[in-house]
Structure formats: structure tokens, C-alpha cells
Amino acid sequence: MQKQSVFTSRSLPWLLIAPQMLIVLVFFYWPAAQAVWQSFLLQDAFGLSTTFIWFENYSDLLADPDYFAAVVRTFVFAAAIGVSSLSAALLLAVMADKPLRGVGVYRTLLIWPYAVAPPVVGVLWLFMLNPSLGVLAHGLRAMGLDWNPLLNGNQAALLIILASAWKQISYNFLFFLAGLQGIPKSVHEAAAIDGARPVRRFWTITFPLLTPTIFFLIVINVVYAFFDTFGIIDTMTRGGPAKATETLVYKVYSDGLLGGNLGSSAAQSVILMGIVIVLTAIQFRFVERKVTY
């Protein structure tokens, strides 16, 4: 059955979608078009004159080893955040799927971190791991570890990954739990009777049946690691030390707003926009044929 509304006047449908279209135009298409236009321009240091330079901003970027490093760093961050938060969330969801006493409380508590804004997450982890104030940092140093993320780039990166992954666990947990609950209980029971022990049952039954959820979450987590970690990076390290935690999104901000290189910053955001479009396309294709097994 096809749902179809019939309008007698030709202008009414346009009028009805106008508010939505207006918002999309003003807040998405216009800035996006501005960014594309900006990426073709070069501004002098005082902002007095601009020159149209075609693709020079892009070719400069691609030749810039700093930019290349940021690309690699972003992908490494995304992979590390995705793997750690997905596996932690899956473990928690498998535990929470069991009929335990007080399981409702447990589930609710696991969902709470999702309600915490990224900058707040950054501040929380900073407090715990700050070399001079942090409780955990104190413990780490007591164990003989030279913990100083303010100077050590790898430690700073680890800090960002840890905080970002922690924040995303709740979201992944929700989807994994829903996915687990979507597997009929009798399938587990049949496997138990078929002689599969719990671990084998997980890898041969549960995990394959969760692949649609896992795939969906990989896309979501990559998008998250690419874009939504901005707040965490900004509060914790501001991209430092020595750009060790500067991801593509943070580089757009620091080059454009802090460095004043608007043309290059715009070119970078256009590239990021392209990445988002590709990821969204993958996700839509996937959502269309949800069940892959």
C-alpha cells in the first residue's frame, strides 16, 4: 500500500517543507558553499586582500608532511578508539544480557556516560591523569612510570584515546545489548544442546549474528572519532604536545582560527566533508540491506 497525500494547491506542499529547507539551506548548504569558495582563495596576512588561486590550497595540503601526519594520526586514533570502545562495550553488553539480579540498575549506569558532554569527559579524565593533580597519575608514578602527558606525545595520544573510547562505550553498549536481545533465546538453547560451550557459542552463534550491529557501529564510531572528539582534544591537550594529538578536525580549527590560514582551513574542511559523505553513503547502503546473514 502506498501512502500518498494529495494536495489540491501547488504551493501548499512547498510551504510545508519550507521551514525545514530553510534551516538546511542556512545552516548547511550556505556554510558548505562558503567553505568551498574560501578553499579557492588566498588571503594576505592582514586580511586586506584575497586572491583566487584555484586548487593551490589543496595541492599545498597534499604536499605538506604535517597534513599527511594528521591524516595518519586521525586514522590511528579512529582505529584505536573504535576497537577499544567496541570490544569493551561488547563485553559489558554480553554480561548485562545475562539474567542477573539488579540488571536494570547495571544497564542504566552503563548508559549514563553517554549523557556527558565531550569537553566534560575531557576535563574528568584530565583531573584523574593530570601529572601534578591526578589521582591515577599519582598512582602511575608510584609504580615507577614516568607519566607526563603534557610532555610525552604518545602518552597524550593514549589519554585522548582512553577518554574518547570511554565516552563512546555507552552508545555502543546500547546497540550491542539491543542486538543481543534480538537473538532468540531458543537459538542459544539449541546451540547449548548441540554441545557448544559458552565461549564457542559466543564465537560461532552470537558474534556472527551481531555482525550487522558491529558493522553499523564501526561506521558510527569512525565518524565519532573523526569529528566528535574535538571537544575532548580541545579541553585535554589542545592538539599538543607538539601536535601529537592534532587530528584532522582539530587541525582545521587550529590552522584556520588560531593560525589564520583560512584558505587552507577551508580546503581541509572540504576534504573532511568528502569523508563524511563517503561514510554516510556506506552507512545508507548498509542500512538498506540490514540483514547480511
Binding site: 539449541a190 546451540a191 547449548a192 552463534i205 549474528l209
Partner: protein, 363 residues
């Protein structure tokens, strides 16, 4: 090949609800035992306890001479067919059947041989590479059966395996299950709420109600001599007519001089014009409805005159509203709605129960 014995088996849930209130049951080697009863009577719970999917609160379950109370489902040497089939959706038909054998570390050639043999028996050889999603309900049912038989277990457990099929297929599969079980000679326990399925499949029929066994026996014995009014009403379609009687009525002597409940199967009533046969019953009825099903016709009549106390025979599933009597007539000839008729049954066709319906008074 095994006997299955249940000794005073009980199940109490953590909330204090008693689902199984002490069941004793002995199933001989190779027998087909059917547990039948209305929904919520505990039959599925009992089956799941045999499978090891539910814990046993008290009592013992013994499979092939070994008490299995603390044994994992995998180690009980049973196979189960689930109501929703519970096929592994991501595996092909072949892998669905091979999964249990692989888990037990069987050699590949033997797995292959067993799966192909099962597929041949069940006529699903052409579908081995398909996924469950691509199969019809009947085919899925066969795969579920195949998964059970490749294991060659001691006991088959069936949890309402046919209830998701349409009526025609259900009858066909019912016959097939019976033939297959005879051929393999595997002890089987089968749960159903369908009394016709129960009657046709069972060597041993167990009628359950409210967590207790009402009667155990050969299906025809149960049909001919139901032990309680519950069994009388549950086994047989349409159900047995049950009417209360006063002390001394119909010349029936009840110990203690109390009244009781009189049962007559619809097929044992005949239309007559004369008086009641010696020691038998006679109902004066007004025809309220007619059901013609071809080979037979069911006449629903309301008893003329005083209706019995509603409380006397009500509140049990499958029983008729008080005062209603069903008469089964062969063929298609039937009285008209609103007509007055007289139905009667001789003494030897009557079933006499105590007033509480819990025991049978005639042998």
C-alpha cells in the same frame, strides 16, 4: 535408546510460583510419549527440565539409567526440536545439521555421511546450501528435525514443533514424525496443546493440568475411561457432555449418598422418541445451533427445563456452558434450529465422576 524416568519432579520459580507439582512418569525404551494440556499447565517446563534448560527444584530425572539433574544439556545425549525451530540463521542447512557433530569433534567424512543420510530421509537434499531464510515453514521444520536426527541421540524432545505450520502441513508432518520415530526407534517426548495430535502420536499419553498429571495411559484407554472431568473435557472433540446429577438420579449410587457429575460423549447420544433406556440418560433439548462438517453433524442443544447450577460444572477449560449438550449425528441429516429433540444414551456409555470432578466412580 533409553528409558526416561521422572521421580516426583518439581519446579518452583524464585517468585514462589509452583510450575510443576510433583510428576512421576516412566517412558519405556523407544516409546513415543506425548505431554498434552492447556497452555500454562507446565508441559513445556517439564520438557525443558528433561532437556536441561530449566533447573530441577526437587525430584530426579533419569535418562538411560543415569540421573541427569546436574548434567549439562550437551551431555544428556538428547536432541530437541523447538517451536520456532531455532535454526542458526547465518548457517546453511548443511552447517545447521553439522554444527552439533562438529562441536563433538566428529571426523569430517562421518559428519558428511550423517548429514547427507538425514537430508535424504527428510527429502531436503536439494536445499543443503540454502540459508534458513530461504526456506518455507515446512522445510525449516524438516531441517530442525534433521538437526535432531543426525546426532543419533538417546531421546528426542519436541516442543510443539508443528504449531507454526498451516493445518494441512501439520497433519502431513504429524504422520511423518510418527513414521520417522518408529523407524529410528528413539525414545521421544512430545509436547502439544492439540489433543488430536496427542491422540494420534502417542504410545503413552500424559494429560497435564495446573502442574500436575491428570492421567497417564494409552490414548484410547484415556479416551474411553477418563480419570477426571478435566481429562474427559480435554480429550475428544467436541468435548464430553458433563452434567451434574442429584443423589439417586438415573439410579446411580454414589458412596455417601452425594450427587456427582455424569459424562456422555457426543457420539454416544442418539436421537430417540421413547423413554430413557434402562439405567441410561435422556436429555430433552431445544436445538440452538447446527455444525455440519460433512461426514458428521454436531447439534448443540439447550436442556429443557431446569438449568443446573452454573457453579457445578464451570471454570475448567474445554468444558461446555452449563445446560448445553452436544450430540454428534452421522451424516448430514439434522433437526432444524429451534426444534425440540430427545437425545439418549444407554447405561454402558455413561461416565460417572465425583462431584468435585477429581475422580471417576465407575470402573
Amino acid at each position: 535408546m533409553a528409558n526416561v524416568t521422572l521421580r516426583n519432579v518439581r519446579k518452583t520459580y524464585s517468585g514462589g510460583v509452583e510450575a510443576i507439582k510433583g510428576v512421576d512418569l516412566a517412558i519405556g525404551d523407544g516409546q513415543f510419549c506425548v505431554l498434552v494440556g492447556p497452555s500454562g499447565c507446565g508441559k513445556s517446563t517439564l520438557l525443558r527440565m528433561v532437556a536441561g534448560l530449566e533447573t530441577i527444584t526437587a525430584g530426579e530425572i533419569d535418562i538411560g539409567g543415569r540421573v541427569v539433574n546436574q548434567v549439562e544439556p550437551a551431555d544428556r545425549d538428547i536432541a530437541m526440536v523447538f517451536q520456532n525451530y531455532a535454526l542458526y540463521p547465518h548457517m546453511s542447512v548443511y552447517n545447521n545439521m553439522a554444527y552439533g557433530l562438529r562441536n563433538r569433534g566428529m571426523a569430517k567424512p562421518e559428519i558428511d555421511q550423517r548429514v547427507r543420510e538425514a537430508a535424504r530421509i527428510l527429502e531436503i537434499g536439494a536445499m543443503l546450501d540454502r540459508k534458513p531464510k530461504q526456506l518455507s515453514g515446512g522445510q525449516r521444520q524438516r531441517v530442525a528435525m534433521g538437526r535432531a536426527i543426525v546426532r543419533q541421540p538417546k531421546v528426542f524432545l519436541f516442543d510443539e514443533p508443528l504449531s507454526n505450520l498451516d493445518a494441512k502441513l501439520r497433519i502431513a508432518m504429524r504422520v511423518e514424525i510418527r513414521k520417522l520415530q518408529r523407524r529410528l526407534g528413539t525414545t521421544s517426548i512430545y509436547v502439544t496443546h492439540d489433543q488430536l495430535e496427542a491422540m494420534t502420536l502417542a504410545d503413552v499419553l500424559v494429560v497435564m493440568n495446573g502442574g500436575v498429571v491428570e492421567q497417564i495411559g494409552n490414548p484410547l484407554d484415556i479416551y474411553q475411561k477418563p480419570a477426571t472431568t478435566f481429562v474427559a473435557a480435554f480429550i475428544g472433540a467436541p468435548p464430553m457432555n458433563l452434567t451434574p446429577f442429584a443423589p439417586g438420579e438415573y439410579g446411580l449410587a454414589v458412596p455417601g449418598g452425594a450427587g456427582g457429575i455424569l459424562g456422555v460423549r457426543p457420539e454416544d447420544l442418539t436421537l430417540t422418541t421413547g423413554p430413557a433406556p434402562e439405567g441410561g440418560v435422556r436429555y430433552d433439548l431445544i436445538v440452538e445451533a447446527i455444525e455440519r462438517v460433512g461426514a458428521e453433524t454436531f447439534v448443540y442443544g439447550a436442556r429443557d427445563g431446569a438449568r443446573p447450577e452454573p457453579a457445578a460444572v464451570s471454570g475448567k477449560p474445554g468444558e461446555l456452558p452449563p445446560g448445553e449438550i452436544i450430540v454428534r449425528l452421522p451424516g448430514q441429516a439434522a433437526p432444524a434450529v429451534g426444534e425440540r429433540i430427545v437425545a439418549a444414551a444407554p447405561r454402558d456409555k455413561l461416565h460417572v465422576f465425583a462431584a468435585d470432578g477429581r475422580s471417576r466412580l465407575d470402573s
